[in-house]
Symmetry: C2
Subunit: 155 residues, 2 copies
């Protein structure tokens, strides 16, 4: 059974994205252990604050991952490797340990995070709002499950 933490910086603010997320969460629940962990985003007022805030958020991510060392860490990053839904399914179901997906916040990932964790998957070459990325991620996890079970899933 898939055992996944979705770690993100900040909550989903838009009601419609939260509802979309919840729908796939609900569909997955009987078949997977999914947990959502939301780290506090660091506020920033000016452009010069951004790097500092990104670094602080990065430290929060690194601390969380340090406490989950047994898990396969998958960073969602637009510079990561592109992968089809079928390959993504094969990859997920081929991992013999618990998984943590990391979704960056508004500011993206600090260099510290990107340097330490090299296993990066890209949802697209395009840049998405992080709230939408969370919806896409959980839909792809659901799809991965459907693919692995040969389940009919119309889209």
């Amino acid at each position: 059974m898939l055992n996944i933490i979705i770690l993100s910086v900040g909550k989903i603010k838009e009601k419609y994205f939260q509802e979309a997320f919840d729908e796939y969460f609900k569909r997955l629940k009987p078949y997977a252990k999914i947990e959502v962990q939301e780290l506090k985003p660091e506020p920033f007022m000016s452009d010069s604050d951004k790097e500092k805030s990104k670094k602080i958020e990065g430290e929060r991510i690194l601390k969380f991952l340090d406490n989950h060392k047994d898990r396969e860490v998958i960073i969602l990053d637009e510079n990561g490797r592109n992968i089809s839904s079928v390959k993504f399914s094969e990859y997920l179901f081929g991992i013999n340990r618990q998984i943590v997906f990391v979704v960056g916040g508004t500011l993206g990932f600090s260099d510290d995070v990107l340097k330490k964790y090299k296993n990066k998957v890209s949802l697209s070459d395009m840049t998405f709002p992080h709230e939408m990325a969370k919806v896409i991620l959980i839909e792809q996890v659901y799809r991965a499950f459907a693919i692995s079970k040969g389940k009919r899933y119309h889209y």
Copy 2:
């Protein structure tokens, strides 16, 4: 000013995806002429019906496009070219005519459509539900606009 038709087969059924779509539509409205056209999907009961229904839907798409010959036709297809949001923005704003994006339905595109229209853009190597693809598309059009205007758009 961008002048875009988003042509799709079928409506968005999920309320949350429709609301997400509407939000970006509303944000774009002052800056672009966007029109949504939804063709009737063809029902299918069995796997053997699928090809026939896909072909019929394809004929509807081709007929629509025949009536909009002056437009740049962009097929959204996972086998299309991957493109970053910045390149997508440059591409969109470099087109000197009206545009029609075509989003397939549950069944995808018929060979007739894929053969006739070669200009294909991929949102991702992953397969998305067509409803979600419409949300991603309009968010990227909004982002393209924000990029071209140097507008601050936090994500």
